[in-house]
């Protein structure tokens, strides 16, 4: 067993451990599973959003394209930047609406906003269909990277299979918290590797980043700009804007991706709780107004007057369902 294998499996174990441990201390209900109980802080959401754009594309597609095509690869910088401009008006509005109406997934949003179950179902189907090639590409990329990094000891198919099993395991167990915590490792690792390679290769091969660009310009003049043919302004705009729209919709589908898988598993679109331990109703207390809480408590106090012990009263409080809409 070579050292690469040990490192690969150590990180796999770390990802699995963090992903499964993410569940600890949380009462798992559908809201926890899909949206982390709406309790993620600003910094965590920022890290997730920032890390989301680092995929296997950074190692394979991005570098391959920069090597093969040169200048056009710079669009990678522009489209992410422009997509975030659009999201300023889109995402907070959706977030506020979804929090207000306690929605869990993208299809929930469309069902509620447009009052149409059919539209929600259609959106779910589109999201699933859109996720399949995306996941397939990512897993294929993962297979290639692991296969190369392990000096061919692990075949791409085996690597993709192990990856799928690991991701499915921690997502089933910990939901969004699982993917959030493994994303933290992934983002940190990708950033370290990208910054290291981006500095190390130009420094050792050319003597510096500026020198590298000058050398490329000397050997292939114009390679670092957009070519005169084939990349018109309209074509470039399209190249930039299509990924912008795609990225914005990807946020949507990533938000809902796990929800969609869940809906498929349950085979039915409603707020049925997960086959996990029952949600603790007390946790939702703060969402309801004073009068609602007082009414519930008053009801259970009456039971006590009839000779129920305090434990029984607490049990009663737990068993009374909260109203479904506050």
């Amino acid at each position: 067993m070579n050292i690469a294998l040990i490192v690969i499996f150590a990180f796999l174990a770390l990802a699995l451990f963090l992903g499964i441990r993410a569940r600890r201390g949380q009462d798992m209900d559908l809201e926890q599973w899909t949206v982390g109980g709406r309790g993620f802080g600003t910094l965590f959401v920022f890290l997730l959003l920032a890390g989301e754009i680092y995929t296997t594309f950074r190692f394979l597609g991005g570098s391959g394209w920069a090597y093969g095509e040169g200048g056009p690869a710079f669009y990678i910088l522009s489209y992410g930047c422009l997509a975030y401009v659009m999201s300023y008006w889109l995402l907070p509005a959706i977030w506020r609406y979804a929090t207000e109406h306690r929605l869990h997934s993208q299809s929930d949003f469309f069902v509620k906003k447009y009052d149409s179950k059919g539209l929600g179902l259609f959106v779910s189907l589109v999201a699933v269909v859109a996720m399949v090639p995306y996941l397939a590409l990512q897993l294929q990329g993962l297979g290639i990277i692991v296969s190369v990094a392990s000096y061919g000891t692990i075949s791409p198919l085996v690597a993709a299979t192990i990856g799928t099993v690991a991701v499915t395991t921690y997502v089933m167990i910990s939901g969004i918290r699982g993917s959030a915590w493994t994303a933290v490792i992934k983002d940190a690792l990708v950033l370290v590797v990208v910054v290291f390679m981006g500095l190390y290769l130009p420094l050792t091969l050319c003597g510096g980043i500026g020198d590298m660009f000058r050398e490329i310009q000397a050997q292939k003049p114009g390679f670092l700009a957009l070519p005169a043919e084939g990349y018109s302004i309209i074509g470039t705009l399209a190249r930039v804007l299509v990924p912008v729209v795609a990225l914005v919709s990807l946020w949507f589908s990533q938000q809902s991706g796990q929800g969609v898988v869940l809906l498929l598993l349950l085979g039915h679109h409603n707020r049925r709780p997960l086959p996990f331990p029952a949600p603790d109703a007390g946790r939702h207390q703060h969402r309801y107004s004073g009068p609602v809480r007082k009414l519930r408590r008053a009801g259970c106090r009456k039971l006590r007057h009839r000779g129920l012990r305090p434990e029984a009263r607490a049990e009663c409080l737990r068993s009374v369902p909260w109203p479904t809409s506050a």
Binding site: L77, L82, Y88, G210, T236
Partner: protein, 61 residues
């Protein structure tokens, strides 16, 4: 639409108007420098919009 929000169109226009390798700025080919410049400018523009957007006032929540 508030006039302030028109600022957000600037990056979409600005980022596309450079296609040359020379001169090199800070070691980067000019087109790369131009795009990086606009990435930074976009952050500045969005910070300005965020600051003056009434939707982000504490009392407006």
């Amino acid at each position: 639409m508030r006039p302030l929000f028109l600022l957000a169109f600037l990056p979409f226009v600005g980022i596309t108007f450079a296609n040359r390798v020379e001169p090199f700025v800070l070691g980067m080919p000019f087109i790369l420098f131009w795009i990086v410049l606009w990435v930074v400018l976009t952050s500045v523009i969005m910070a300005v919009i965020y600051h003056f957007d009434p939707a982000n006032r504490e009392s407006g929540e």
